[in-house]
């Protein structure tokens, strides 16, 4: 079964300068037990996408088209109360800054038992569950950790506690928004390995957002490449990274310094900037910066199937 | 500009300022001319606000009183700002021990009730506008300095300040060019909202006889004159009190509107 299905999602914000069309016809799926990555740079719309899924769009934002289906249910028509019931036990989130999840004035143990309030367990059972979870994320001396406060832990540990909290209720979907971006390299890989382990044990799906291509390649089975609010390419990680077909994906992979195996004095870049999303052009959104641009690119590009499951939204892709 | 109170505030303030600036044009009478035969006249066409116990035209006295109120308010506020900003910058940016000493002094000053300060200063300077200005400065400076100090402390470790330090910029330059422009905004709005308070201090001191000396037409002095005669000739007290009320309301509305206009923009910026 598909845990999350996004179909032609459109999100707009009303601003002083006009309507900002932040997400345009975004479609992808997160199957059961699968880790799906979203790759994109600043302005690609990843935060808007997560907020739309969680029902947390700002007051001036609205879903102007399409649907978000979680386990078959259309989330765009769900009441705020029902959404609150879903967030936490069924869909949980880990953010870039663990302090987004951790209350600095409440002990870790108290927070972890608080979020179990719907479980109907006794206080002792909730504490037991918290300790087990902390042990699973390799927090040393978990019983003592329950009485400590977030500031007593290092950045890497706080992030692991946040992950423990997110996975404790065994959600169907974990949304991880740049969870390792603020961590050092060795800590980042340890956290990624931890996520992989836990995902295999719990069997949840993971939607993993990052701009770190190496981490996506290692962790994610499927990948969705976003640019300026649109999905420009998607497929399995192997398909997209080994055979990128959309010019943006190609250039993005080229730019990653990790891809350059030998030393070069001149690193590739993508010149130009994201266009103003209040004024979306009719044609391909990437055209102004594209090295393969042709006159046909002034019309809306179709989604071309490169292979089974591998799709790119571009005129210049031969199927 | 959908703020009715703000518009009203602007109107009132302009009214007061206009009255003060053009006092001689609007009121032809001499505010200090004593005319014993015209004592205690009620308001009429010849005397728009009536006359006081010495026959002086109250309307002219009120308008000239506006000059005093505004000049004291502006001068004293400007002085408080200048001193408060300098002290606040030094406290925030300088060595820790200096900061501690200055905070002690500020807190000590703040704990003095205004009336006590006024009395103490009057013994030094005698009742006069000088005393009023010094009282205002002593009352306002600790608060202003505190605000600047807190903001300066926060910016002291900002990266753009470190960048300036690494370039070799002197402390004076850093305070003047990098820190001051970024801390002064909220303070200016606060100070404009304090102007009614300053006017009230001047009026209060003059009412108590601690401020301007007769025959200078301060609103507080007029209020004092009218206070004793309020039963039979209430218009004197009205002449003294009404401008104080209108000015206070005007500046308060204006200041609050300014603050509301600037705050959300500050949040939305950058």
């Amino acid at each position: 079964m598909t845990v999350l299905s996004i179909h032609n999602l459109n999100v707009s914000f009303s601003t002083e300068g006009g309507d900002l069309h932040a997400l345009k016809d975004v479609s992808f799926e997160v199957p059961e037990r699968r880790i799906v990555g979203i790759v994109g740079e600043s302005g690609c719309g990843k935060s808007t996408l997560i907020n739309a899924i969680l029902g947390l769009l700002a007051d001036n934002g609205r879903i102007s088209g399409g649907e978000i289906r979680f386990q078959g249910r259309d989330l765009s028509h769900v009441s705020p109360r029902e959404m609150t019931a879903l967030r936490g036990p069924r869909i949980s989130t880990v953010f870039q800054d663990p302090m987004g999840a951790l209350n600095p004035v409440i002990s870790v143990g108290r927070q972890m038992t608080n979020i179990q309030y719907r479980s109907g367990l006794s206080k002792a059972e909730k504490a037991e569950r918290a300790v087990t979870m902390l042990r699973r994320v390799r927090i040393p001396d978990p019983e003592a950790a329950l009485t400590r406060y977030p500031h007593e832990f290092s950045g890497g540990m706080k992030q692991r506690i946040a992950i423990a909290m997110a996975l404790m209720m065994e959600p169907a979907l974990l949304i991880a928004d740049e969870p390792t971006t603020a961590l050092d390299a060795t800590l980042e890989v340890a956290t990624i390995e931890l996520l992989q382990e836990l995902q295999a044990q719990i069997g949840c799906s993971v939607l993993f957002i990052s701009h770190h291509l190496g981490v996506i390649a290692e962790l994610c089975e499927d990948v969705v490449v976003m640019y300026a609010g649109e999905v420009v390419e998607r497929g399995t990680t192997r398909q997209v990274f080994n055979n990128p077909r959309h010019p943006y994906t190609e250039r993005l992979l080229d730019c990653d310094p990790a891809r350059q195996s030998s030393r070069t004095r001149h690193l590739p870049t993508i010149p130009g900037e994201i266009p103003d999303l209040r004024d979306r052009p009719n044609g391909c959104i990437f055209a102004p910066r594209c090295h393969r641009r042709a006159p046909v690119c002034d019309t809306t590009p179709p989604e071309v199937a490169v292979q089974e499951g591998h799709v790119a939204r571009c005129h210049m892709v031969m199927p | 500009m959908a703020e009715p109170l703000g518009v009203l505030g602007v109107f009132l303030v302009l009214l007061v300022i206009g009255g003060a600036v053009f006092a001689d044009l609007i009121a032809s009478a001499d505010p200090n001319k004593i005319a014993p035969r015209d004592r205690f006249l009620p308001p009429s066409m010849g005397h728009l606000m009536g006359t006081d116990q010495l026959g002086r035209d109250l309307f002219a006295r009120v308008l000239h009183g506006g000059q005093i109120a505004l000049s004291v308010a502006l001068f004293a506020t400007a002085a408080s700002l200048a001193i408060g900003i300098v002290l606040g910058l030094i406290a925030g940016y300088g060595p820790r021990w200096l900061d501690n000493v200055m905070i002690l002094v500020f807190d000590a000053l703040k704990s003095f009730p205004t009336v006590m300060l006024a009395l103490a200063l009057v013994t030094l300077f005698g009742p006069s506008l000088t005393a009023v200005v010094v009282v205002v400065v002593l009352v306002n400076v600790p608060g202003y300095a505190r605000i600047i100090r807190t903001q300066t402390l926060a910016l002291k470790s900002a990266e753009f300040v470190t960048a300036a330090q690494s370039m070799g910029a002197s402390a004076g330059r850093i305070l003047r060019v990098h820190i001051l422009p970024n801390v002064i905004g909220p303070l200016l709005i606060l100070a404009s909202m304090d102007i009614p308070v300053v006017i009230a201090i001047e009026a209060g001191m003059s009412f108590l006889g601690l401020g301007v000396r007769p025959p200078t037409p301060s609103w507080g002095a007029i209020l004092n004159d009218g206070f004793t005669a309020i039963r039979d000739t209430p218009w004197i007290a009205v002449a003294g009190g009404l401008p104080i009320v209108l000015t206070t309301l005007g500046f308060t509305f204006l200041g609050e509107t300014l603050r509301d206009v600037f705050d959300p923009r500050l949040k939305g910026r950058g």
């Binding site: 050092d184 390299a185 | 690494s166 070799g168």
Partner: protein
Amino acid sequence: MILSVRDLQVSFPVGRLMNRSAILGVAGVSFDIAAGETFALVGESGSGKTTLARAVSLLQPISAGEIAFDGKRIDGLRGAATKPLRREMAMMFQDPVGSLSPRMQVRDIVTEAFRVHGVEADLRAEADRLLSLVGLSGDFANRFPHQLSGGQARRVGVARAIALNPKLIIADEPTAGLDVSVQGEVLNLLNDLRERLGLAMLIITHNLHVVHHVADRMAVMYLGRFVETGETEAIFQAPAHPYTAALLSANPEPDPDKAKDRISLPAEVPSLFARPKGCEFHTRCPWAQARCKTEAPAAQGTDRRVACHFPLSPGERPPAVQETTP
């Protein structure tokens, strides 16, 4: 040598009154940078690399050691005496927009050094010249920092740093906060300017891939000490210190088929309050042996230095580990 550092130590006092002690942020570091050379300081959070950079630029007082710039001792300089030095040594900061004064226009930001040092010049013309050197058009001169993108703000930072033709630029995380497609811009620019202006550069970063493309020589820091120093290419080919090897393996490439030959380290870095005995890395080192727990290794070698009792041979893998269930 543009910069020479010998046995540098930076300690921070902690505690008050009765129980005062100190922790060593930089615990004895020595290195040289030649004119025109790019040297990278690599380390993770808590390694002391930022402290070292600040100490070298005299923004942080040192507790022991010597620093010499262009042949002259500078570590004893205080206050006004440091000013002439600051023309020769310029810094670039981590936060691209935050390191620019929010109410100053770009024109004034990039020419501030002229004013600080009293250098007579046509400031408008200089601003235009500097902006074009970093690839920004003239109309950027009127903008304010909040109107710049991350990449543009970085370039303004570069322009500001090169204003008075310094001999050394210290760049703190030059690619932090930049999208991948934009990182190359800054690095290419720095490389370009190096060649044109003959600049030496000290780059502080935790991003090893950046180091590979930009630095001639590098040093890896751990808990305030250098564990390995040498030519970048040589170290990348065959890291000799276990920590270097672990760092290199911890940066995944965007290649899903690449075999995972990761060297995993236990995640927690020891606190500076409780430095491990012997070799300070032994608590996390997959190759640690008995000697490592008691005896601190001295750095060996000249151009290529390693502080390890058992430096790795090329391609050496960690010994098989017993899996203990947590």
